[in-house]
Amino acid sequence: MTNDEMTKVMGMKEAMAAYVHDGDTVAIEGFTACICFAAAHEIMRQGRCDLTLCRMTPDLIYDQMVAAGCARKLVFSYLGNPGVGSLHAIRRAVEKGIPAPLEIEEYSHFGMVGRYTAGAYRLPFFPLRSYAGSDLPQANPRIRSVESPYGDGSIAVVPPLNPDVAILHAQRADRNGNAQLWGLLGVQKEAAFAARHVVVVVEEIVDEAVIRSDPNRTAIPSLVVDAVVHEPHGAHPSYVQGYYDRDNDFYLAWDEASRDEAQTRAWLDEWVYGVADRASYLEKLPPDAWKRLAAGEAWAEGVNYGRYV
């Protein structure tokens, strides 16, 4: 079997069943963009529990998973509904222990970025200029410091983060998992290299020749990828640069629904448990949704790599 014939393509059900188990440390990353709700909803439907959920910005996706009872612990740096307000389900868990207490491990953004980077680089720690004068190290004893051996003081460090699985949404990949991303890059690459297993979820599966035509665009190489899931619109209601816009109505609706336990449950019943898969979820959207969320066109200028024969 040659590379061109190799395939890691799987369905979402199959991929989540294979790579997400009770008790796992899971990172579904994507900063504002490319947040793979399709994977999260499938994990919820499969009834996973006791997960340690890692994400810089837990966002709606982990608010929903916490509400669904999937999580034992949250590792994060910013708990917000971006541009809208609070994450009510997580707040209920942290403030009142409802539905169950939620352990938290809290960093700043650069701290989380550094944790993934140290994990990906197999370093014992990542040094960063932060935390001095802040109460964060008291709240989280894993934030420590080391003395510079060059006599110029000490610097904060954070430990590596190596999730059992990272689930990353991207614009396109080949069947072997070489994934190309554009727009916000977040920590997708670092999370992929840090994780023991990687599932890449894409808007389009393309020929290997497309990937090879622009190798600088490949942030996640097949080397670290276990499964490729083709799930167009899988990041809705977040957005995918060049493919669709954020569906803010959903962010506002969750803000409303999630303020109340019963309504939260009703929302999950309708949009997660009440659908069989992503295709059924997408069918529930208003018929004009994709017209309203259309990205429009703004193409990158050409780039020639040359043929060197």
Partner: protein, 255 residues
């Protein structure tokens, strides 16, 4: 004839004007986002907007819903990974001004965006640091925009998320923080600076029609005034037009 305007509009316009001549600003979520976009259209045409999402030189074609809005990406000068944004741009010392909002602030400009109440079982769980801790640490200067209020301007923070001038005086420099810390706080009623020696917040101008007492009533400590308290210049019609018609036509931030 003077235009009528809301206190929020006054605050945003004043915040924007604080950026006159600045070339690089790190833009926080919410109010700072509007103020920085207004500054670029008025007092700081060469201003390049930098977002923690990885964007340098954004040219948003609409009011961004968040600091990660796709309109910030399309047409930007550069979009990089977050390790590069925080490492190269911010920690590298390349940011002239970071414009932040906040939940709680004390007289030395230390800020809390983590919890109200105790950390382990908080009364209110706030969003947390995001990038604020390292932004407050590394930006050359920090500008703050937030509404006055006794629950926000407090004698003592429940939690220090982001370091300002710590206990005041030379404490910040002594701890080796690379950036200069908070320089200005723009509110809906006044503008405050920081005393060069004590580093305590001091009122430098009151917005038109606002009394000293009205400001003090919203602040949880005995406020100090600069030697010569001015009246903040009111918004111009052009600034108000941009704000109302182009930057925030929905009135999300300006009501």
């Amino acid at each position: 004839m003077a235009a009528t305007y809301s206190a929020s509009e006054m605050m945003i316009v004043t915040a924007a004007r604080a950026l006159a001549g600045v070339r690089t600003v790190f833009v926080g979520v919410g109010l700072p986002n509007v103020a920085c976009n207004l500054a670029r259209r008025t007092v700081a045409p060469d201003l390049e907007l930098i977002y923690e999402s990885g964007v340098y030189g954004a040219r948003p074609a609409r009011l961004p819903l968040s600091i990660g809005d796709p309109t910030l990406v399309s047409g930007a000068l550069s979009v990089c990974s977050m390790v590069d944004l925080f490492g190269l741009y911010l920690q590298g010392g390349r940011i002239e001004v970071a414009f932040l909002g906040g939940a709680q602030i004390d007289r030395f400009g230390n800020m809390n965006t983590t919890v109200i109440g105790g950390y382990d079982r908080p009364k209110v769980r706030l969003p947390g640091s995001g990038g604020a801790c390292e932004i407050a640490t590394n930006a050359q200067q920090v500008f703050i925009v937030m509404r006055l209020g006794r629950r926000s301007f407090v004698e003592r923070l429940d939690f220090v998320t982001s370091p300002g001038h710590l206990g005041g005086g030379a404490e910040r420099a002594a701890l080796g923080l690379p950036g200069g810390g908070p320089q200005v706080v723009v509110t809906d009623k006044c503008v405050m600076g920081f005393d060069p020696a004590s580093r305590e917040m001091t009122v430098v101008s009151l917005h038109p029609g606002v009394t000293w007492e009205a400001v003090q009533a919203e602040v949880g400590w005995d406020l100090r005034a600069a030697a010569d308290v001015q009246e903040t210049p009111p918004p111009g019609t052009d600034e108000l037009r941009l704000l109302r018609e182009e930057l925030d036509p929905g009135g999300m931030y300006t009501q």
